[in-house]
């Protein structure tokens, strides 16, 4: 019983509640006709936010000031380069994927090198890095859109048993992330570092190694998301990651992860990602202009955080 109440005190409940309400309000308009379509679309697009959001969440869990702003550029570069390598050939799907992952790891490595070796605050280090990465994406093929191999295009845009394939991939990644976070030593370590870096160091945790792996992990998820998104939308575009800068941060915080670090949760990311997609759909459905739409989005974000709020935040 107690445990149940504690669950309901958890912040991620709010993001799910908000997502559900918005979903309901949207399908109300059509009298329930578009329910399946809307739900599938929501799952599909939430999947991309979930994948980048999880990476961002791991980084944010590392404590105050940790954030990865290079996510959009990494997505773009990984998508661009992978599609260029695959060059519409079905046989190249795996090498393309590996290359995308490899690019993610490379960006993560550079990010942490800047943070550690040059002691640049992560927010600035990753921002600077994102400019360099974005340039790399431009340089590789100057924004030409190359089509994905047909199997990949097929896979990313279809459903299995009514559930979009990309959503299934995102669920698998979420489960992995949840296990990492809740069940492994590594998960304990990042949470400890997020609460207090000096204390973590004194407790014998390999702080640098853990942080390094976390930045790698985040960049790698961003590149996987970029790879999938490029295949899904029929080619990589230079601006395809742009949206995911604010999105990746928003889904983490709305999902109830403490911005002060040390406390994170995976289910909240799903709730928040669905919510972020549905809220735009709802406002579009009600035919509100861009101005009103923006204002409503802002107010809804603030209301959700106020409802879930009262948590300790450093900021």
């Amino acid at each position: 019983m107690n445990a149940l109440i504690r669950q309901f005190g958890k912040p991620w409940v709010w993001s799910w509640l908000a997502a559900f309400i918005v979903w309901f309000l949207t399908i109300m308009v059509t009298g329930g006709a578009g329910t399946l379509g809307l739900s599938q679309a929501a799952l599909t697009f939430a999947a991309f936010s979930v994948i980048v959001g999880i990476g961002q969440m791991f980084v944010i869990t590392l404590g105050p000031g940790n954030i990865d702003l290079s996510v959009p550029a990494t997505m773009t570069l990984a998508g661009t380069v992978a599609l260029k390598l695959m060059n519409v050939e079905n046989g190249m799907v795996l090498p393309g994927f590996l290359l995308a992952v490899f690019i993610g790891l490379g960006v993560g490595l550079c990010n942490y090198t800047l943070i550690k070796a040059l002691r640049i605050p992560p927010i600035i280090a990753t921002l600077s890095m994102s400019f360099v990465v974005q340039s790399g994406a431009i340089w590789t093929n100057r924004g030409l859109r190359i089509k994905p191999p047909s199997v990949l295009a097929e896979f990313t845009t279809t459903n299995t048993l009514g559930v979009p394939n990309v959503a299934i991939v995102a669920v698998l990644i979420s489960i992995l992330a949840w296990i990492l976070l809740e069940k492994t030593i590594y998960g304990r370590w990042i949470s400890a570092i997020g609460q207090s870096m000096p204390a973590a160091r004194m407790a014998g945790i390999p702080v640098d190694g853990t942080r390094f792996v976390t930045y790698l992990f985040c960049a790698m998820l961003a590149s996987i998301s970029g790879y999938l998104l490029a295949c899904f939308s029929g080619g990589a575009a230079l601006n395809m990651g742009a949206e995911y800068l604010l999105m990746s941060i928003a889904v983490v915080v709305i999902g109830g992860t403490a911005v002060a670090g040390g406390d994170s949760n995976v289910p909240g990311i799903w709730g928040a990602s669905l919510f972020m997609f549905l809220v735009v759909s709802m406002l579009n459905t009600y035919g509100l202009g861009a101005g009103i739409r923006l204002i409503m989005t802002g107010l809804i974000i603030i209301s959700v955080i106020m409802l879930a709020g009262g948590r300790r935040g450093m900021r």
Partner: protein, 315 residues
């Protein structure tokens, strides 16, 4: 050795040195810049950035972070180019209301103990929406007095330099010399002890936010004075620029360690870095990347000098 620089002074030496180095490099690349008009052209767009940076610094002084800075400055720019010109009384009222809204955000963040990142993220949508409502398409016109103010040609030094110095001095006085500044930085340093001395933290935070709002309003007005008209997206990048400026200027994310003079220098440095690059004539593919690289280099310089500072301290 009896002479010892205070840590505050060393904090300033670093940004000042990077600015001078960069300026020397620019003069070397483009001797034409070494003139009254040249300096004005190099620095006049830094004036609104400097104001926004000071605003961001005030928020950072109380351990918060304002992600809505860019959207807010854009909003103010829209108000300035429309109401402030056509109906000054209403314009002033709107701007006063906006400052009050900033104070209210401070209060809400404090009372509900919310993470400022999320609340201001939400607010950035709100300000953006209001700006789009005001100016769905770019337009409006700067009030004449604003235009005059930003194009005035004072004797001896160009407007950009004079304005930067005035901003730095005023901000320094408010933040570093006045009792109010001590209180605001005290909240950032150790909120509990300030509370125990009988101060109202809510009031202190509200004041810091209101002051930030005021400086951001000035930034918006100055910006319109330079550009002559506004659009809803005009200053979006001020959010990251202002944060980078504070950091470049020796400020820190937490602990109330900020330096107003440093912040202004940081803003000038950032602006100058852009010019430096365009004088270098890099291939268009890598122009964006070079901006990242220069940020990294300037910050690496900061690290080098920080090491020096530590050695100084140990002595």
């Amino acid at each position: 050795m009896t002479f010892r620089l205070s840590s505050d002074a060393i904090r300033l030496v670093i940004p000042a040195l990077s600015l001078s180095l960069l300026l020397a490099a620019v003069f070397w690349l483009q001797p034409r810049a070494m003139s009254y008009i040249g300096l004005n052209l190099l620095f006049n767009l830094a004036v609104p950035i400097a104001l926004a940076t000071v605003a961001q610094m005030l928020v950072m002084a109380v351990n918060d972070l304002d992600l809505s800075m860019g959207a807010f400055v854009s909003f103010v720019a829209c108000v300035t180019a429309t109401f402030l010109r056509d109906a000054p009384a209403i314009g002033i009222l709107i701007l006063a209301g906006a400052v009050a809204a900033y104070a209210a955000i401070g209060v809400v963040i404090h009372l509900r103990n919310l993470p400022s990142i999320v609340v201001t993220l939400g607010m950035s949508f709100v300000w953006g929406g209001l700006a789009v409502l005001l100016l769905p398409a770019p337009g409006g016109q700067a009030p004449d007095w604003v235009r005059w103010l930003m194009t005035v040609k004072p004797p001896l030094a160009p407007m950009a330099i004079v304005a930067s110095i005035i901003i730095a001095v005023i901000a320094h006085f408010i933040v570093k010399r006045s009792s109010l500044g001590v209180l605001i930085r005290g909240v950032g340093g150790n909120q509990r002890s300030v509370e125990r001395a009988g101060w109202s933290i809510v009031a202190a935070r509200a004041t810091a936010y209101a002051l930030a709002g005021l400086f951001a309003v000035l930034a918006g007005i100055a910006l319109v004075g330079l550009t002559t008209s506004a659009d809803a997206n005009i200053a979006l990048r001020y959010t990251l620029l202002s944060i980078a400026g504070v950091i470049l200027g020796g400020g820190e994310f937490t602990g109330g360690r900020v330096s107003p003079i440093g912040a202004v220098i940081g803003a000038l440095t950032l602006t100058l870095a852009g010019s430096f690059l365009s004088f270098l004539r890099i291939s268009p593919d890598w122009q964006i990347g070079a901006q990242g690289a220069i940020l990294i280099i300037v910050l690496a310089l900061r690290l080098m000098l920080n090491r020096l500072e530590r050695r100084e301290k140990r002595r």
